[in-house]
Amino acid sequence: MQFFTSGFFWFIEGIFLCLIIIGLKYWTEERNIPMPFWKWLVILIWILYSGFTIAFIGTCLGENEPAAALKGGMLFSLIAIVSAYGLSRLLGFFRLTRHQPK
C-alpha cells in the first residue's frame, strides 16, 4: 500500500489541519479579529477548496494529463486567489488593528 493513499496519511493531514486552525486562532486573537462560527466555517471551506485545487493538479499530472493540470489548475487557482482576497476583506483580516489600551 502506498503511504499517500493510506489512512495514516490522512491521519497526519488531520493533525496538520488542526495545527492550521490553532495557528489561525492565535493570529486572529493577536489582531483582535472577532471569529464567530460562520467565519471558521467559511475558512474551512476555503481550505478544503484549496486542497482540492492542489490535489486536482497533482492527480492530473499523475494521470499524464498536463493540459488538464495546467488549464484546470489555472482556473481553480484563480478562483482560490480571488476568493481568498474576497474572504480576507469580508472577514476583516487586514483591517488596521486598534490596540486596546492596557
Binding site: G7, I15, C18, I22, T59, N64
Partner: protein
C-alpha cells in the same frame, strides 16, 4: 481589564485542551481507519487484487430502476446474425463477391439485405476496393512503429478457448465424466444464495463486474452466426434452458486503452472474459445445470450489451456501448446462459441518458463519423442512438496499429481510472437531478482534455498522421526497445 485578560487566557487554554481532545479523537479514528483499510483494501490480496469483487463498488441499489433506460416503442424484431452483424456480413461479402457478377455473386440472404440497404453495400465494398490498397501501401512504411503493440495483443490472445461446434441441446448440458451419461442437477438451497455463489465464483475467476438477469428473447439472434453449431439457414429457436443470463467481463488494460486506436487492443479483455465464461460454464455444469458461453471476439447467439443493461451493469451510451459506473465504457462482457435458479439484478439509471444527450464527445471524436450527433432513432422496436457500423468497421481496417478503433470508449468522460477525482465526478453527476453538474463537467472535459483532430487518426495515405489519443505506455514504445528504423 485584568479580568478580561484572564478570561482570554483561560479561553486559549480551553481551546488548546479541546484541540488536544479533538486531535486524540481524530488520531484514534485515523488509526482505526488506517487499520481497517489495511485489513480490507484489495491491495492486501497480493497478486489477487482483481479477484475479490471489490472493483464493483458503485451503490447500484440506490439507482435501481424498474425498467432499463432504453425505450421500447414498437414491435421488436430480433437481429439476423448473418447480415445485420457487421463481422458476419463483411466476411461473407469478402468470400463471395465477384466484380463481374456483382450482387448475383452473393447468397440470397446477403442479396436481400444489400437490396434493402444499398448504402451498406457501398460502404462494405469501399473497404475492399479503396481502403485495403492504401493500407497495404502505408503498412510497408509505418507499421514497424506498432511492433510491440501487436506483439502484446497477440500474446494476450494466445490462450483462447475453442469455440462451440455443437447445438445447445448437445453442448450445453452436463455429462458424466466417465460415460457421458446425463447428470441430475443438484438441489440449490435458494435463488438468492445461488446468485451470491455464482457472483463470488465469477469474481474469483477474474470478472470485474457480474450481473444476472432473465434472458429477454428480443436480444437473441433470429438467425444464428456461422460456427456456433447451429444451421444459419434455419431460424434460431430459443432453447428452454436459456432462462437466465449471467454477464461477466473485464476492462481493457488502461494505459494502452488511452493510446487508442493504435496501441490499445480489445484482445486482452476479450481473452480474459472468454476464459472466465468457459470456466464459469464448467462450474455450473458441475452442479448439474446446462450452461452455454457467448463470448468475444464474435461467438454469440445473442446481443450482449442490452443483456448487460438488463443485468444492472450499466446504461447504453450515445456510442452504442454500455457505460458502467465503475469502468465507464471500458468493459468487455461475455454472457453465460443457463437455467440454474437465481435471484436477478435490477437495471440501473445513473443519469447516462441525460449526460449523453448533451455531451457528444464520442461523436465529435469519431474518425469515421459513425456516431450520430442527433437524436435517438427507432431500431428494431427500440429507441436508441443508431451507429453506422459500416463506416465504423471501415476505419477499423484502415488503421495500422492493433485492429479496431475503440476511440469512443477512450474519450467517453465516464471511462476514467478509479481515483478520488473521477469518482467524485461520477457521484456528483449520478446524484444531481438538475443536470447542471453534468453540463459543467462535460464542458470541463472538453476544455481540459484536448484530443487530436479526428482526421489525424487516419493513415497518411488517407490524409492522416497515424495519431493516437494519448502517448502509448513506455512498454509499448517500439523505438525505445528495438533497433529498427521507424
Amino acid at each position: 481589564m485584568e479580568k478580561s485578560e484572564d478570561w482570554r487566557k483561560l479561553s486559549r487554554r480551553q481551546f488548546l485542551k479541546a484541540s488536544g481532545a479533538a486531535s486524540a479523537v481524530m488520531g484514534s479514528a485515523g488509526l482505526g481507519v488506517f487499520g481497517y483499510q489495511a485489513g480490507k483494501d484489495s491491495f492486501s490480496y497480493t497478486g489477487c487484487e482483481s479477484f475479490q469483487g471489490q472493483a464493483e463498488n458503485f451503490n447500484r441499489q440506490r439507482f435501481a430502476a424498474d425498467h432499463a433506460t432504453y425505450e421500447k416503442v414498437g414491435v421488436a424484431s430480433r437481429v439476423d446474425a448473418r447480415t445485420e452483424v457487421i463481422f458476419s456480413r463483411v466476411s461473407s461479402l469478402m468470400r463471395q463477391w465477384d466484380e463481374e457478377k456483382g450482387l448475383d455473386s452473393l447468397d440470397k440472404g446477403l442479396q436481400a439485405y444489400y437490396k434493402k440497404h444499398p448504402y451498406d453495400l457501398k460502404e462494405d465494398l469501399h473497404a475492399r476496393k479503396k481502403i485495403f490498397p492504401k493500407r497495404q501501401k502505408d503498412e510497408i512504411k509505418y507499421k514497424k512503429k506498432f511492433v510491440l503493440a501487436k506483439a502484446w495483443s497477440n500474446a494476450m490472445s494466445a490462450v483462447w478457448p475453442p469455440g462451440i461446434r455443437e447445438t445447445p441441446e448437445r453442448y450445453d448440458f452436463p455429462r458424466g465424466e466417465q460415460y457421458g451419461e446425463p447428470v441430475e442437477p443438484l438441489k440449490m438451497k435458494s435463488p438468492e444464495k445461488t446468485s451470491q455463489l455464482i457472483k463470488q465464483i465469477s469474481y474469483q475467476l477474474g470478472s470485474t463486474l457480474v450481473g444476472i438477469t432473465k434472458l429477454n428473447p428480443d436480444w437473441v439472434y433470429s438467425y444464428p452466426m456461422w460456427g456456433r453449431g447451429l444451421n444459419p439457414e434455419l431460424p434460431l429457436e430459443i432453447p428452454g434452458h436459456w432462462e437466465y443470463a449471467i454477464v461477466i467481463g473485464t476492462p481493457m488494460s488502461w494505459d494502452p486503452m488511452y493510446a487508442n486506436p493504435n496501441y490499445g487492443t480489445s484482445f486482452d479483455a476479450y481473452a480474459k472474459s472468454r476464459i472466465i465464461a468457459y470456466r464459469l460454464i464448467k462450474f455450473i455444469r458441475q452442479l448439474g445445470y446446462p450452461a452455454r458461453p457467448h463470448t468475444p471476439g464474435v461467438e454469440y447467439d445473442l446481443m450482449v450489451p442490452p443483456i448487460a443493461i438488463d443485468a444492472g451493469l450499466g446504461e447504453q451510451g450515445r456510442h452504442g456501448v454500455m457505460i458502467t459506473p465503475e469502468l465507464g465504457s471500458n468493459f468487455r462482457p461475455a454472457v453465460v446462459t443457463t437455467n440454474i435458479p437465481m435471484k436477478t439484478d435490477k437495471p440501473i439509471d445513473f443519469g447516462v441518458q441525460d449526460f449523453c444527450k448533451t455531451c457528444r464527445i464520442c461523436a465529435k471524436n469519431c474518425p469515421s463519423r459513425a456516431i450520430p450527433m442527433g437524436d435517438k432513432e427507432v431500431v428494431r422496436g427500440y429507441r436508441r442512438y443508431k451507429i453506422n457500423s459500416s463506416r465504423c468497421y471501415n476505419f477499423w481496417y484502415s488503421n495500422l496499429g492493433n485492429i479496431g478503433c475503440r476511440l469512443c470508449v477512450t474519450v467517453c468522460p465516464y471511462t476514467r481510472k478509479s481515483n478520488w477525482l473521477h469518482r467524485t465526478a461520477l457521484e456528483v453527476t449520478a446524484n444531481d437531478p438538475s443536470g447542471m453538474s453534468q453540463r459543467i463537467l462535460s464542458k470541463m472535459q472538453k476544455s481540459f482534455y484536448p484530443s487530436p483532430h479526428p482526421q489525424e487518426y487516419y493513415i497518411p495515405s488517407m490524409g492522416g498522421k497515424n495519431e493516437s489519443y494519448r502517448e502509448p505506455p513506455w512498454w509499448l514504445q517500439t523505438e525505445d526497445f528495438i533497433d529498427i528504423d521507424i
